[in-house]
Every structure is written in C-alpha cells, then in structure tokens.
C-alpha cells in the first residue's frame, strides 16, 4: 500500500548516491544497446588500423619516423582520449534531452554540481571502454604499447580528458540554449581545435601568428610533451605544468558556460519543453 512508511532519505552519502544513480542510468542504457557499445569502440579501432599502416609505411621510408615510430600511434590514441571525453560527456547530456527526461531530473534533488560530476564520470567510463580496444590493437598489430610513456601517460590522459570535458560542457550549454538543432556541434566543434593542438606535427611548424593560439590549448602542450618523451626520451615538466594550469581555466570556463546556460534555460522555460 501507499503510505505505509515515510520515505527515508539517507543523509550523508546523498550526493554520491545521486551521482551513482546517473551513472547507473547510463550503464543500463549501454548494457541494453549493442549499437551504442559498438559506436564507442568502432572509430578508435578503425583509426588505429589506418594510422598503424601509415606508420609502417613511414618507418620504412623515413629515417625520422624509423627513430620515433610510436609518435603517430600515440598521437592517435591520445587525441581520441580528448575526443571521446568530449563526445561522451556531450552525448550523455543530449541523451537526456532526446529522452525528454530533463524535466524529471531537474525536479529531483540532483544538484547541478552532482550532474556535472556524473557527466564526467560517465564520460570517463565511456572513454576507457572506447580506448581499450584501440590500445590493445596497437599492441597486437604494431607492437606499440602506449604504456611505454610511463607515468607521464597519466598526466597526458588527465589533461586531455579534462580539456575534452571543458569543450563538452560548452557544447551542452549551447545545445541547452539553442535546442537540439545545435546537437551536431557535439560532433564537430572539437575538430576545430585539432590543427592547433599539433597532434601529428610539432608546434614550431605552425605559422608564427598561430603559435600563440596553440599555446593557450592544453592539448598542444600535451602533444609537445608526448613528442619530447618519444623522440628525445625526455619528460617535459614545463609542458605538463602549462597544460595543467591552462586546463584549470578551460574547465572553469566550460562549466561556467554550462551553468550560465542552465540558468538561462530556467529563465526561458526550456527545461520542461526540450525533447525530440
């Protein structure tokens, strides 16, 4: 019967439980949908096969590549960390809009900061699932292990996924504000940063006037640091530090934009209207 016991709310770990609930909701979704799981691993795997073959060709035809065979493959894997981080976060939020579920979520006790944590956690899980196949394939097919980057890999990974989240939050804010017509931004906006991130070439290749643009991207410092490690065998603490400091600003702007658009949606009455 209804009303045979008052609702008991667990007081202390409420936030963890609500974040866990959101993660659970998207785990149910992934478990139930094999196309979604396939989508997570498909592109990283295809990219790894193509770039692995390109690397094999270049290694036999270029002295420079012969000395630094892993640069392209590491670039592919690490760029995908940033892309998967961003798309994982944006799509999870857009999924709630497709499902017309935002109205229910925002009248539940889920705080905006808890939603933000949940989105990051789900994105991390999706990124790890997506990357596992590509990393394994690089090892099996091309004898390249991304783990050869050592402890620096942790720094590279964290910086790239955080930058992906920053862009992801910005995209979510735009989609909240401009509706699902803007959802394609989730797929292409981050690629505007690719040329300046210097994934496959050194920053010095850029024209002088573009170098300051690249210098404010955490990703450019990560890829410079990656090349320093793979080509020269030296760890660049300077690049790691710059990437980390810049990322604090990037994530603050990304989350700030998302929260500002969320407030704007509450003023404009968009939260209970958005849907497919």
């Amino acid at each position: 019967m209804i009303g045979d016991g008052a609702a008991r709310v667990l007081p202390l770990h409420g936030s963890a439980q609500r974040i866990g609930a959101m993660v659970l909701r998207h785990t149910y979704l992934l478990r139930r949908s094999w196309p979604r799981l396939l989508e997570l691993t498909y592109w990283p795997t295809v990219q790894m096969i193509i770039w692995g073959l390109v690397t094999m060709f270049l290694v036999t035809n270029s002295t420079w590549f012969a000395q630094a065979a892993g640069v392209l493959l590491a670039g592919v894997i690490l760029w995908d960390v940033m892309f998967r981080g961003q798309i994982g976060l944006s799509l999870v939020f857009i999924e709630e809009m497709w499902a017309r579920n935002l109205g229910h979520l925002f009248v539940s006790p889920l705080r905006p900061w808890e939603l933000i944590c949940a989105l990051m956690l789900i994105s991390l899980i999706r990124t790890l699932i997506g990357m596992t196949g590509a990393v394994g394939l690089a090892f099996v097919l091309y004898a390249f292990s991304i783990f050869d980057l050592g402890f620096a890999l942790i720094g590279f990974f964290v910086n790239l996924i955080v930058m992906g989240w920053a862009v992801g939050f910005f995209v979510c804010g735009l989609v909240l504000r401009y509706g699902l017509g803007a959802e394609s931004l989730a797929w292409f906006l981050i690629f505007a940063l690719a040329p300046f991130s210097c994934v496959y070439y050194p920053l010095s290749i850029l024209p002088d006037w573009l170098e300051p643009v690249a210098a404010i991207l955490p990703s450019a410092h990560v890829f410079e640091g990656m090349r320093a490690l793979l080509v020269d065998g030296t760890f660049s603490g300077d690049h790691m530090m710059r990437a980390t400091v810049l990322n604090i600003g990037w994530i603050a702007v990304g989350i700030g934009t998302f929260l500002a658009f969320l407030r704007s949606a509450r003023i404009r009455g968009l939260l209970h209207q958005i849907g497919e």
Binding site: D4, V9, R111
Partner: protein, 250 residues
C-alpha cells in the same frame, strides 16, 4: 507545521513582452487537493513549472512548507514530486530500471522493496521488465505516477494527470490519487482542464484565464455562486465572459 503547505504570492512570468502568468496568488493547505483550472495557454503549466523551480519567476515568491523555494530548493525537492505528460522517462530503460534510478536520485533506502510496493499499488507487475517506450499511454501514465509517488511526497504536483487516457484508465488514476491523499495526508496541486476530474478530486479550484486567477473557491461553492449545475458550466461562463471582456477591451 500549521498553515498552508504551498503559498504562492504575486507570481509573475514574462517572456519578453508576453505576460504568461500575471501576479497570481493562492495557497494549498495541508492534506488538501487544489486545482489550477483553465483553457489551453491560461498559464497553468507555467505556474506549476515555477512552483517546481524549473522556471524562474519574473516576480513574486513561492513558499513551500513555510520556506522560500528560491533559497531552499534542494532542501524542499526531496519532499515533493511531480508527473506530467510533457516530460518522459527514458524509453529504452525498463520500468524497473527507471524506478530504480529515480529511487536512488531521491536518496531512498530499500529500493527493491519500495518498487515492489509501487508495482503492487499501481498494478505494474506485468510490465516491470518491459522497456518504458514499449508501453501503452495508460501504462506509461501509471509508471509516471509510480515515479511521482516513489518518495511519498508531502506535496505532489500533477500536470493534466489523465490527459490522453481512456475513461476507464482516467478513473483508475483518479482513484489512486484520492487513495494516496487519504493514506498519507499529502497536499496535491494539479493542473487540468478536465472538469469532472477537478470536481471529484479537489477541495479548492483556482480558475485561470489570460495568466490570472479569475475565480477561486471550493467547486460546490463556485457552482452555487454561479447558479449552475456543474463545474463545467461555471468554467465556460467564466472563460467565455473573460474572453468577451478581453475582446471588448481590444
């Protein structure tokens, strides 16, 4: 706590030059059911959205359990819940999965037991394992109601609870709402344009037209005051009268 559970004072919402809700004030007492009644576009859903905090008002205030909603929203939300045909639960998740997620979002303990109880009360047993998107409109309404009652809210907000339901299912839903109130002493605010529903369920009615409350009181008092037989006749008189006045003013 004595006094009203919900107090709305001079609540106003403007979208640009359009005033959707214009200085609306009303109160809902403990253990009572009240309705916002009005034609399409009267401002009922907008008012409900402001009471839920989904929409920020341009002016005015909402007090729930004696506390200002704007300042205490996250302390108040666990004691409230709502259901609306304009929002949905994720279609690909099963009914049980959806209810589990929301039970956890509301920080409830004994989730499995609670869902079993809901399934029994709302007769969900047959489709607990089915994806929510594959249910009929009536079944989905029952699931939405189960989600709205999961945390046993002291204040329940319902937007058109029987919209698009066949008469039999609509009657069944009204029965559940009545039973919930009598068993828990909860307060209910519903937005509707179904007169029979309002007459059956509500202690107080606030008739809205053009974003304003143009008439209020218990249904039977309103029927008596207007010397009519049903609330529908009262409503038509009020709304048509209001429309004529607006047209004359233009």
């Amino acid at each position: 706590m004595s006094g009203p559970v919900l107090e709305v004072e001079d609540l106003t919402k403007r979208f640009g030059k359009v005033t959707a809700v214009d200085a609306v004030s009303f109160a809902v007492g403990r253990g009572t059911t009240a309705a916002l009644l009005g034609a399409n576009g009267a401002g009922k859903t907008t008012t409900l959205a402001m009471v839920l905090g989904l929409l920020l008002p341009s002016a005015g205030s909402v007090r729930i359990f004696g506390r200002d909603l704007a300042a205490n929203r996250y302390a108040l939300l666990p004691r409230m819940n709502f259901s609306s045909p304009y929002t949905d639960l994720p279609h690909r998740l099963t009914v049980r999965e959806n209810l589990t997620v929301y039970a956890k979002l509301y920080g409830l303990d004994g989730v499995r037991r609670r869902i079993e109880r809901m399934a029994e009360t709302l007769d969900l047993g047959d489709f607990l394992k089915r994806p929510t998107g594959k249910l009929s409109a009536g079944q989905r309404t029952r699931v939405a109601l189960a989600k709205a009652l999961l945390n046993e809210p002291e204040l329940l907000l319902l937007d058109e609870p029987s919209a698009s339901l066949d008469p039999d299912t609509a009657d069944w839903v009204r029965g559940v709402i009545e039973r919930y109130r009598s068993e828990t002493g909860a307060s209910i605010l519903l937005a509707s344009h179904n007169m029979a529903e309002v007459e059956r369920l509500c202690d107080d009615v606030f008739v809205m037209a053009g974003g304003r409350i143009v008439e209020s009181g218990p249904p039977e008092t309103m029927i008596e005051r207007h010397d009519r037989n049903t609330l529908e006749e009262v409503f038509l008189e009020i709304v048509r009268g209001t429309s004529s006045l607006s047209e004359a003013a233009q």
